[in-house]
């Protein structure tokens, strides 16, 4: 059995490797991470990066091909049953039972967590109350909104008061209001001492909730640090300018390149620059193009998206599909090519 010396770590993973035989996908290629007790770790990555696989291994659903991991010092493979009694798991699919009421769902999970009937009933009432589902508690889930299902999913995960919580994209697909509500609930849990590992595609979410961030891509850790450190690396804004005609694209790129430390990204008529001072850079872009009499059709200033994070960190967009692990959503319309052979070399390694 592996030895886990760092007793202040609630969760630790060392060199996790997982290959899915179907499609021979190397979902995890040596992922290590640590979550200190009482803190939140944000696991960031695009669809198919391996986030869900990490969570599934840590929550004992899946065994790693190699490497080892522990929760509160308990090995997730050899002491899986003990691990299951210390963790809560809520996920992007909101694994709740459609045919049951909210109360029945929580009660079922409580009983399967081996709480007595009395405690199960009490916890169901408490949690429904806590998550604003008291009135809907005795309604069948078919009548629940997406946000209500997620809240119920989280409530069910908390039924045995687990000291460690895994949240797999807890707010993906939620409207902003539901997202805020869920964030507040997670913050409350952390205040009470719960250790959380959460996966997300949203920088904003990691930024708000996580003390530390691990970015994974193609099954490898590509960056880690606090949100502030990562953002400093990224630049804070993206200036996106749409040019008036194709003839001027090359000239515009040539003129705009000096305005950012990073090379502009070009897709059809759109040129994008990652910069630190958005408004100033926007003005510079306008002035430069105007002086050169290059026609523009539009200008936008936006926060860096996760795509930008990955471009910056890894130099490519990921398109790996992780078997049936994570649904692969249609990518945003910027089909930027890979940046060079260096990346390909890394993949082949």
């Amino acid at each position: 059995m592996a030895n886990f010396p760092h007793s202040s770590l609630a969760v630790e993973a060392h060199d996790l490797v997982k290959v899915f035989p179907r499609g021979n996908v190397r979902a995890l290629d040596g992922v290590s991470l640590q979550v200190e007790a009482g803190t939140v770790l944000g696991l960031l990555g695009p669809n198919g990066a391996g986030k869900t696989t990490v969570v599934r291994i840590l929550s004992t659903i899946l065994g790693p091909d190699s490497g080892h991991a522990a929760v509160l010092g308990l090995d997730v493979v050899t002491q899986a049953d003990a691990v299951r009694r210390t963790i809560g798991l809520a996920g992007q699919y909101a694994a709740v039972d459609e045919n049951l009421t909210g109360r029945e769902n929580i009660h079922m999970v409580a009983r399967l967590s081996h709480l007595s009937r009395t405690v199960a009933a009490r916890r169901a009432t408490e949690l429904l109350e806590e998550f604003g589902l008291a009135n809907a508690g005795d309604r069948v889930l078919k009548t629940y909104s997406g946000g209500m299902r997620r809240r119920l999913d989280l409530a069910a995960a908390l039924v045995a008061s687990p000291p460690v919580l895994f949240l797999d994209e807890p707010t993906t697909g939620l409207d902003p209001q539901s997202r805020q509500g869920l964030w507040a609930a997670i913050e409350e849990l952390v205040r009470e001492g719960t250790t959380v590992l959460l996966t997300t595609q949203y920088l904003e979410e990691a930024d708000r909730l996580a003390r530390d961030i691990v970015v994974i891509d193609h099954g490898r850790v590509s960056a880690e640090g606090t949100p502030a450190q990562l953002k400093a690396d990224l630049g804070t804004s993206v200036v996106s300018v749409t040019l008036g005609e194709y003839d001027v694209v090359a000239r515009a790129v040539e003129l705009l390149t000096p305005l950012s430390e990073k090379p502009p990204l070009v897709e059809n008529l759109v040129v994008e620059l990652t910069v630190n001072d958005g408004p100033k850079a926007g003005a510079d872009v306008l002035r430069t193009l105007d002086t050169a009499e290059i026609p523009i059709a539009g200008l936008a200033l936006r926060e860096p998206s996760l795509d930008d994070v990955f471009l910056t960190l890894t130099g490519h967009k990921t398109t790996i599909e992780e078997g049936e692990e994570e649904s692969v959503k249609p990518k945003r319309g910027f089909g930027r090519g890979r940046k060079g052979a260096a990346t390909d070399g890394k993949d082949a390694a």
Binding site: G38, V96, L100, H114
Partner: protein, 273 residues
């Protein structure tokens, strides 16, 4: 670093001694959940019950006149066959139910809980058994309404019911395996049908095997559905249909199927989920 870890909260009192008690509790929890789901969709229950009723009526009033059976009373020959057909169709829902659980992600949740590993499958087969039991009661009532009469005694009739339910329970594990292999619930339904169709219709369920071509008789005589149908006829109707050999054969088939299918399903469950 001297940060103290929060101790794992062991709210249950799981020791080796009551491990079995919890496993049973898990199966009951899972079965209850499945039965609640059935009761919440009464339409599905209504139509799955309607189907065997229509079979009873169809065979009694449409085909019945043309089918000549030992003993002369076709309805008495038919009802045990319809019972078997009904429970087999009932057991098929194990496939769809598990496929649905698997693909809606709820099995993921179960696997991260400290519950017994086999409770998901055992709970599903148990709830299908319970449902089959109630459907049997309904069909029996319909049978009596169209003229079916017990030819032996009530005790033996109940034994016949048990033989049939036990057989369906064993098949449930096979259907569970198929459900875990299917890409979704709808496909699971379609996948079990080609397996069940020849077993059910190339059997003694609706017509005497002797009326079939010779090559088919060989198959029909020796396959489990015929054995179970003949066994229940022997126990429920008796007389010229008495066949104690079929009773033992049916039980042997059932135990054999259970011993083979249950471990296969459990292994599949461990692999896919």
């Amino acid at each position: 670093m001297t940060t103290t870890l929060p101790a794992p909260l062991l709210l249950d009192d799981q020791t080796e001694g009551n491990r079995l008690a919890w496993a049973v509790a898990d199966i009951i929890t899972m079965a209850k959940r499945n039965i609640l789901a059935v009761m919440r969709t009464p339409e599905a229950l209504f139509f799955t019950t309607l189907q065997p009723i229509m079979f009873v009526l169809l065979f009694t009033y449409v085909f019945g006149g043309a089918i000549h059976v030992p003993g002369g009373h076709y309805i008495n020959f038919l009802m045990p066959g319809v019972f078997v057909q009904t429970v087999i169709f009932g057991a098929m829902s194990s496939a769809a139910g598990l496929a649905e659980d698997l693909h809606k992600g709820i099995i993921e949740r179960f696997r991260a809980l400290p519950m017994s590993r086999s409770a998901v499958l055992a709970g599903r087969t148990t709830s299908d058994l319970v449902r089959n039991f109630f459907v049997m009661i309904l069909i029996t009532i319909v049978g009596f309404a169209v003229g079916f009469r017990i030819g032996t005694n009530f005790g033996l009739f109940l034994c016949g019911v048990l033989v049939i339910l036990f057989f369906a329970y064993a098949l449930s594990w096979g259907f569970a395996y198929i459900g875990l292999s299917a890409p979704n619930a709808e496909t699971a339904q379609v996948m079990v049908f080609p397996l069940i169709f020849p077993l059910l219709f190339a059997s003694s369920a609706f017509v005497p095997v002797a009326t079939m071509p010779g090559w088919l008789q060989v198959f029909a005589e020796h396959q489990p559905v015929t054995q179970v149908v003949n066994a229940s006829r022997s126990l429920m109707v008796g007389g010229v249909l008495h066949d104690s050999g079929a009773v033992w054969s049916a039980l042997l088939w059932t135990v054999g199927l259970l011993v083979v299918l249950a471990p296969i399903a459990v292994r599949k469950y461990r692999k896919v989920a």
